[in-house]
């Protein structure tokens, strides 16, 4: 395909044009046309590839010429690095630059005379490359379009600042925009080169480009961070080069496909591959900003936002994981390499997510989240099983789209609200209505259930369970909970509706809107097209590489998720929710004034009520966690390198011990889930209300009172529904309705015997909407409640995920229906996990010691935390939701006691009743505790009991 050559070379045209063009208009036109052509060609390439449906299309090559060119480019790049190192007097960079220069020249001297070794396949395309070409071409070009408008504001701001100091700001925008297009070209080379030498050439171009882009502003900080980036990435580059030399010296193939083909041979020659695979993986880990190399990504934040977006989402870091995707079949054959990649990735995933909690700078949160997600991707790839690679590819795809949207949104917001601090985003929903909705969509895309990222995480969890990778299951359970928290509190901050706010988004450039809207549409499109992508693009690739197609998520679950994504998108982006309820102000103890969130203080002044997020810097600060993580990851990498150096390669080339589990149930299908949902919606509120009545009666008796009538909860709800409508904003009732719907759907999924993980995700989704409903009111009481609700979810989330894993251990299926086919109840296999679930049930059922979200220091439970601003129908919906949740959680408990015997249902009912009685007893015995003990209990029991229960599998693999 000549088109492929065109695609890789064409971005150079706008890049050159940018350098030559004068004036904004010319650059805008050039950028728009250039990006448009890149996008169009990308799509054409993808469509042509898919239409021909070939396994891989290759071109016979003039590769000798290309190899000379790539060697020349390598040398030029070294010269650029050395020039900058000399200019800024950076010794370490000089040394590394010289090492790399000598290496490149030596390598060229070795390989170029022996051209026949290198003449393998030049540019090629397979399903994975098509996915990456689409991601780079479309998202990357959109970021370029965005940069056109963004850089105008950036330059104006720079000039303004310079004028204040009496200087003039040089206009370096042409170089910047040119670098962006050059970057795209380099990325196309990386994803379409089978030849490692050319891949390395593209690899180094991206390194140098990002160096120049990070140092764009030429401030001391920018220059320092740019050098951090180049030093760390040159370490990776040198590892890459060493790997190439090793391949050449041992006469191993210099292409990825060649390496994969050879690895299957099992000869002494193929065993030698372990060292180059390790070195290439090391290079990939530096590029993907994994610990201990993660600091360059954080430093890259000083650059203008399009740089961050380009580096973090679609290109630079994705080059690293792309190489690992290509190498993934080798990880299963050389376990030491897989061990290194998985462990480093897992540690980065967990620790970066924890560190993200302690950050208030939006771009730093995004950076940590990127490190965390890439860690998960690496961890999946290191496993080397098609199930895990399936999850990794989807993570790459959805991360690209969602993260670029978020970066661009933060960039625009920064220019219009003057800050990138999350704390300054109060009332954003009203200040920048459209932008904030896109941002919320992006955040939801990163961590909420039916959106792609979480579905991919679900896939990862299934993959780890299927391959018996117990430690990774634990890491994933805790890492996801931490991820939930830091995204959740940002989302809650954004959702705040400020009726008095001025709309400040009128001046946003058209090109910025164009890019933002298109990426947002792309995000929704990717989620909606999930079933198509997961059957049309990814399985063919896995079949080609691994020889089998994994089964991770059932079709019906996917269809259900598509419907829910569409639903959320409609709720968030359209204005169908506009309600005509009379507006009331938020409750501020009766002394609120007309101004937004202001009250009359005791001294007669007007005081603003403010609420700050929870960061826990002391426990989760980057200074505390970062170094520890780096030390551990360094030791893992050193360990792997020493293994390769000391132990003979033959002994390292043994297939990783793994046992594949799994009987694939399909649940009860979409129709079954629908029937289940209707049934649950009809029965659960009745049963739940009755349980609530019994609860109140029982509590009263325990306190020596008579207590209310049994049906009192129904009377309460009936009254609430008859109250006059009123609300503090137009959103909270809608959010609450969504929460109720998702809870009912979650229950429907469970009772219809479908996937329990999906059920747990639905419940979490409902919790997010409760948080949104209460945070959107901007009442300080409600916001404190919302924060605590998030904390509660973070506390119990690991144990709930483990519950599904416990089910899987016993039945080899995640479907709740599977228990009825067992000859013994699953409690027999998963007793510790059951205990962990029991322990967090108090948090989930919002019972006394851990009923945090309903209370507030000043008012105790009287104003009712999250529900402070909910009245009438909204409060009734919340009550109904709680009833449904109670029923669902008790059914989770009962599930552990059901087997293929009718008597078991009675046993389960008895256990459920006993459990609830114990909960009421706890509720009446213990005084309310603090969030710290709630959090410690939740994570402690999940960790201890989870490991206890899962350990046998870990050992089982080796027996």
């Amino acid at each position: 395909m000549t088109l492929l050559y065109f695609l890789t070379l064409f971005p150079l045209v706008p890049a050159l044009g940018m350098l030559l063009a004068r004036g904004d208009r010319a650059r805008d036109a050039l950028g728009l046309v250039g990006s448009g052509i890149i996008m169009a060609v990308t799509v054409v390439v993808a469509v042509m590839f898919l239409a021909r449906a070939r396994r891989a299309s290759r071109l016979p090559g003039t590769s000798h010429v290309l190899s000379i060119i790539s060697s020349a480019i390598d040398v030029i790049l070294c010269a650029v690095i050395l020039y900058n190192a000399y200019k800024y007097r950076n010794a370490l960079t000089t040394v590394l630059g010289i090492v790399q220069l000598v290496g490149s020249v030596a390598f060229a001297a070795m390989t170029l005379p022996a051209a026949e070794v290198v003449t393998a396949t030049p540019l090629y395309l397979d399903y994975m490359s098509v996915i990456m070409v689409l991601a780079v071409g479309i998202v990357g070009s959109l970021i370029c379009i965005y940069a056109l408008g963004y850089m105008k504001d950036f330059q104006a701001h720079d000039e303004h600042e310079a004028a204040l100091r009496g200087q003039t700001a040089p206009d370096r925008r042409p170089q910047f925009l040119a670098l962006m297009f050059l970057f795209l070209s380099a990325m196309f080379v990386i994803v379409t080169s089978d030849n490692l030498e050319w891949l390395f050439c593209g690899w180094e171009i991206t390194t140098v480009c990002s160096f120049l882009m990070i140092g764009y502003t030429r401030t001391p900080e920018a220059i320092k961070n740019a050098f951090t980036q180049i030093i760390l990435n040159m370490l990776g580059g040198i590892a890459f080069l060493a790997g190439l030399m090793y391949l050449h010296l041992n006469e191993l193939p210099m292409t990825i496909t060649g390496m994969v083909d050879l690895s299957g041979a099992g000869t002494a020659q193929s065993a030698l591959l372990v060292m180059p695979v390790l070195l290439l993986s090391l290079a990939a880990l530096t590029k993907a900003a994994q610990m201990p190399f993660h600091t360059w990504l954080l430093g890259a934040m000083v650059a203008p936002t399009p740089t961050s977006a380009l580096l973090h989402s679609s290109t630079m870091v994705k080059a690293g994981v792309f190489l690992m995707v290509k190498l993934s079949p080798l990880y299963a054959i050389y376990p030491v390499t897989g061990f290194m990649v998985t462990s480093v990735g897992a540690i980065a995933f967990l620790l970066a997510a924890l560190m993200a909690i302690s950050q208030s700078n939006a771009k730093r949160v995004l950076a940590y989240s990127t490190i965390s997600n890439l860690g998960l991707i690496s961890a999946c790839l290191g496993v080397g099983a098609p199930e895990a690679v399936w999850a990794a590819i989807f993570l790459i795809l959805f991360h690209t789209v969602a993260k670029s949207l978020l970066f661009l949104c933060v960039g625009t917001a920064e220019h219009h609200i003057g800050s990138r601090n999350i704390e300054d985003m109060d009332g954003m929903f009203s200040r920048m209505p459209h932008l904030t909705r896109l941002m919320m969509l992006g955040i939801m895309g990163m961590f909420v259930a039916p959106f792609g990222m979480l579905v991919s995480k679900w896939g990862a969890l299934v993959a780890f369970a299927q391959t018996g990778n117990v430690l990774m299951i634990m890491v994933l359970a805790f890492g996801s909970a931490a991820t939930f928290y830091f995204w959740g509190k940002w989302l809650a901050k954004l959702s705040g509706v400020d009726p008095t706010a001025q709309n400040v988004e009128v001046n946003v450039h058209k090109t910025e809107w164009m890019a933002l809207n298109t990426i947002a549409a792309l995000l929704i499109l990717c989620c909606v097209a999930f079933p198509v992508i997961s059957s049309g693009l990814v399985p063919p690739y896995l079949a080609m590489v691994f020889g089998r197609v994994p089964y991770v998520i059932g079709k019906d679950s996917m269809y259900l998720m598509v419907v829910i994504v569409a639903f959320i998108a409609v709720v968030l982006l359209t204005s169908f929710r506009v309600s005509n309820k009379p507006h009331v102000n938020v409750y501020l103890s009766g002394v609120g004034t007309d101004k937004y969130r202001h009250f009359r203080g005791s001294m007669g002044h007007e005081v603003k009520a403010e609420k700050r997020n929870w960061y826990s810097e002391d426990a989760l600060g980057e200074k505390r966690i970062g170094p520890a993580g780096s030390v551990v990851c360094c030791s893992i990498i050193l360990f792997a390198l020493l293994c390769c150096a000391w132990i003979g390669p033959e002994r390292l080339a043994m297939s990783a011990p793994s046992v594949l589990r799994g009987k694939y149930f399909e649940g009860s299908g979409v129709v079954g889930i629908f029937i289940g949902t209707v049934a649950f919606a009809l029965i659960a509120p009745l049963v739940g209300g009755l349980i609530d009545g019994i609860d109140r009666k029982l509590s009263a008796r325990m306190q020596g009172r008579v207590g209310p009538r049994l049906l009192q909860p129904f009377y309460d709800v009936a009254k609430l529904l008859r109250k006059a409508p009123a609300s503090v904003n137009t959103m909270d009732d809608t959010y609450m309705a969504c929460a109720l719907i998702f809870t009912v759907v979650g229950g429907g999924i469970f009772v219809s015997g479908s996937n329990t993980l999906l059920c747990a995700f639905m419940v979490t989704l409902a919790a997010i909407f409760v948080v949104l409903a209460s945070a959107s009111t901007q009442s300080p009481f409600a916001q404190v409640g919302a924060d605590r609700e998030l904390l509660q979810v973070m506390s119990y989330e690991p144990a709930v995920l483990l519950m599904s894993v416990g089910l899987y251990l016993a039945t080899d299926s995640f479907d709740s229906i599977a228990v009825t086919g067992q000859s013994a109840p699953i409690i027999v296999y998963s007793a510790p996990i059951f205990l962990a679930l029991l322990a967090v049930l108090t948090i989930k059922l919002r019972k006394s010691p851990f009923d945090l979200s309903y209370s507030h220091h000043a008012h105790q439970e009287i104003v009712q935390g999250v529900a402070t601003e909910m009245s009438g129908g909204t409060l009734a919906k919340m009550t109904l939701m709680h009833w449904c949740e109670t029923v669902l959680f008790l059914m989770w408990v009962g599930m552990f006691f059901v087997w293929d015997n009718p008597v078991s249902w009675v046993v389960a009912l008895v256990v459920m009743a006993a459990t609830y009685f114990v909960e009421v007893l706890i509720d009446n015995t213990f005084a309310r505790s603090t969030w710290r003990s709630c959090f410690k209990l939740g994570w402690g029991v999940a960790l201890v009991f989870g490991l206890l229960n899962l350990m046998p599998i870990l050992v089982d693999v080796f027996i």
Binding site: V584, N585, Y587, G590, V591, G592, R696, A700, Q703, G704, R705, V706, G707, P708, R709, Q712, Y715, D716, A718, K719, R722, K723, A724, P725, A726, H859, I862, V863, Q864, A867, T868, E869, M870, S871, G872, L875
Partner: protein, 96 residues
């Protein structure tokens, strides 16, 4: 208020200014000892949830805005109960 409403009276209690006698009595009557929950009474402390506004103590220029704001934030149907002689007729403060 109709029958269906009266089965679930939720109370918000506000003390204006007084000797706090009524205040203490009201709270005492809402403690578990007297078990007002038998009749569905809940002491909410949140005007958005409450149906009955229970005012004790006299309402004066100082706290009139507070009483008005709490009343306005309650949803219909609602009712106000003035409890004790201070709230009903300003009692001794009228003599001053």
């Amino acid at each position: 208020m109709d029958h269906k409403m009266s089965r679930s009276p939720w109370v918000i209690h506000y003390d204006g200014s007084s000797c706090n006698g009524c205040d203490i009595e009201v709270l005492a009557s809402l403690t578990p000892l007297f078990d007002a929950e038998r009749f569905g009474v809940v002491n909410t402390g949140n005007p958005k949830h409450a149906d009955i506004f229970l005012v004790t103590g006299s309402v004066n220029a100082q706290n009139l805005p507070v009483v008005r704001q709490i009343y306005n934030q309650m949803l219909e149907p609602k009712c106000v109960v003035a409890c004790g002689i201070c709230a009903c007729s300003a009692a001794y403060s009228r003599c001053l």
